[in-house]
């Protein structure tokens, strides 16, 4: 029991989530194939992986919506199958799509959920109003949710999820399909929620997002955890960033690649675009080591010295593609488009969830 949050039943300081060999199969497809996770209470834990990796299926099992076919999972010490109701009392879920009723207004949705979580008629209305105000949705309170913008939907969704002050909040791809600004706003909300002591399990396709929010990250692919650790550990294995370079002259790309490989002492990837290449840069773990930006500028200087014109360059976080390349030494099997930042990914996500649902009904 923490003295700051007397209403929270924090339990015997155990982890919020503990799974061992968790398995879920849909027909021949082992959607989740032996997942071991330990999520410390009070933190944001990122589950990073491409579409169809098994993220949503894992979350659904932990939220008692799907029965595992093998292995065990405990949430705050409660078995997700045998003590499902005890788990439900502690968790809340924001699914990939609006988990609110689109036909109802914002107020009606929140009052409905407040009533279902045991608030009295008046208390439910008050709580709904407070939440709508806190989430900046007062003006839209009387409108049906189907008329909300993407960012507003996410807000009402998260508002509904924290209505009963959950100890553990599942956020399944909370920013997929959102524009950058709405995404930042969702991140701010998540930070505010975590600051109050709620544990968050976040699934995402973006390394960037996991990096912004999570303290520990598990990388998941084809139903298995292929890497797990703190952000620092994961980055050390992947490299802090990547230099994306576009040349004016496609003929000189081989030469540029050789130069970059020499200066940066790392792998260089030739992009589908004949003038583009990408090099991973490490963050130089040792105190005397160079920072990624320093290395990158040195590499660019080398290119200039060799007389290779650079049209454009960017130093960025490694993409999910690059993470997978680094972790598995093989590129992602899913189409590259799915790993692009928000926007382009929406269609791919739909297909993913469609598959999960279609298979779940069998």
């Amino acid at each position: 029991m923490s003295s700051e949050h007397p209403h929270r039943r924090s339990g015997p300081h155990g982890p919020a989530i503990e799974t061992a060999g968790l398995v879920k199969t849909f027909g021949d497809n082992r959607a989740v194939d032996g997942v071991d996770l330990t999520v410390p209470a009070g933190t944001v834990y990122g589950l990073l992986g491409p579409n169809g990796a098994g993220k949503t299926t894992t979350v659904k099992m932990l939220a008692t919506l799907l029965r595992p076919d093998g292995g065990e999972a405990h949430v705050f010490g409660h078995d997700v199958v045998r003590e499902a109701d005890a788990v439900r009392a502690r968790v809340s879920l924001t699914g990939q799509y609006a988990s609110v009723d689109e036909d109802l207004t914002g107020t009606e949705n929140l009052v409905l959920l407040a009533r279902l979580t045991g608030h009295g008629r008046k208390a439910a209305r008050t709580r709904a109003e407070q939440l709508l105000t806190a989430f900046g949705l007062s003006e839209a309170a009387g409108r049906q949710v189907k008329n909300y913008s993407g960012g507003m939907r996410r807000r009402i969704d998260i508002a509904a999820s924290i209505l009963n002050t959950p100890d553990l909040l599942f956020l399944d791809e909370p920013t997929t399909g959102l524009d950058p600004r709405s995404r930042n706003q969702v991140w701010d909300i998540v930070r505010a929620v975590v600051a109050q002591g709620t544990t968050v399990l976040l699934t995402t396709q973006y390394l960037d997002e996991a990096d912004q929010l999570a303290s520990r990250i598990a990388v998941i692919d084809r139903g298995r955890v292929i890497a797990e650790g703190t952000k620092g550990e994961l980055k050390a294995s992947v490299g802090a960033g990547a230099v994306h370079v576009r040349l004016r002259d496609a003929d000189r790309r081989e030469e540029a690649a050789r130069l970059l490989r020499l200066t940066l002492d790392t792998q260089v990837q030739l992009e589908p675009d004949p003038v583009a290449l990408t090099a991973r840069v490490g963050d130089g773990g040792s105190p005397g080591g160079e920072a990624a930006a320093e290395k990158a500028s040195r590499a660019l200087a080398e290119l200039a010295r060799a007389g290779i014109t650079v049209d454009n360059f960017a130093l960025g976080q490694p993409s999910l593609d690059e993470v997978f390349l680094a972790l598995t030494d093989q590129p992602l099997t899913t189409p590259a488009a799915l790993t692009e930042p928000a926007g382009t990914a929406a269609a791919g996500t739909g297909a993913d969830a469609g598959r999960t649902e279609a298979e779940a009904t069998r």
Binding site: H7, K60, A63, T64, L65, A86, R88, A89, S92, L93, G95, Q96, Y97, A98, S99, D101, E102, D103, L104, E108, L112, L113, R115, L116, T117, G118, H119, G120, A123, Q130, T133, A134, F135, G136, L137, S138, Q144, S149, G151, M152, R155, A160, S161, N164, T165, D179, P180, R181, S182, N184, Q185, D188, I189, A192, V193, A195, Q196, T198, A360, T361
Partner: protein, 281 residues
Amino acid sequence: MSTTTPTETQDLAPVRAESLAELLVSTERPRRPSALSTSLTFGWRAVLKIKHVPEQLFDVTAFPVMMVLMYTYLFGGALAGSPREYIQYLLPGILVMSVVMITMYTGVSVNTDIEKGVFDRFRSLPIWRPSAMVGYLLGDALRYAMASAVMLAVGLVLGFRPDSAVGVLLGVVLLLVFSFAFSWVWTMFGLLLRTEKSVMGVSMMMLFPLTFLSDIFVEPETMPGWLQAFVNNNPITHLASAVRGLMDGARPSAEIAWTLGWAGVLVAVFGPVTMRLYSRK
């Protein structure tokens, strides 16, 4: 709060982190609500849906009026000498038929609703599991009551003269009870079948023989023996006879008992099957 990229055309008010923090800290978690309370809350949800899309009341207003008018004037002269005489026999039956036919929309709405994300939320709440389904049926009971009122009003205009208001009321209550029980068949199909169309198809295939092969239009005595065997054991026949008896001032205890018995069996069989499917969805 980051406001550096003004890409979203619709400007949202900022999230207030402080008030958010207050909300998360200050509240005691309320006690787990009762099964009755959650069922009624889901019933309220159904009523809200009617409020937002009132067009969906078409099936409980225009459709029943059409049924009464059509069958009264189509068969009245041939079967009972005149529409006015026929409606005395027909109205309770056509009331049963219309309401029982409307029950199939429960399956359709369950089917279209269940795929939506909000059900994941409902199913992850620590509440009495069947309450979401019971809520649908409660909302529908309200619709059936409306349909009954509309048809009785039209019937009275056309010359239907029940024995007493109490009898009419009891008849409607019995009809609502049976419809509530019968709807569990549709909730099951709503969860079992993949598309709205298939739910409609299956419902129609069951409803047509059930309602037509009953004593709603004509007395079973005129039918061939093998058909009588079916008609006399059809739950809809029991229900129609009971409602007709009640509205006519009789005490059809046997028919009422049969109707309630069928209602019990329907809930006992299709309730658990529905809940099994609901949990596995």
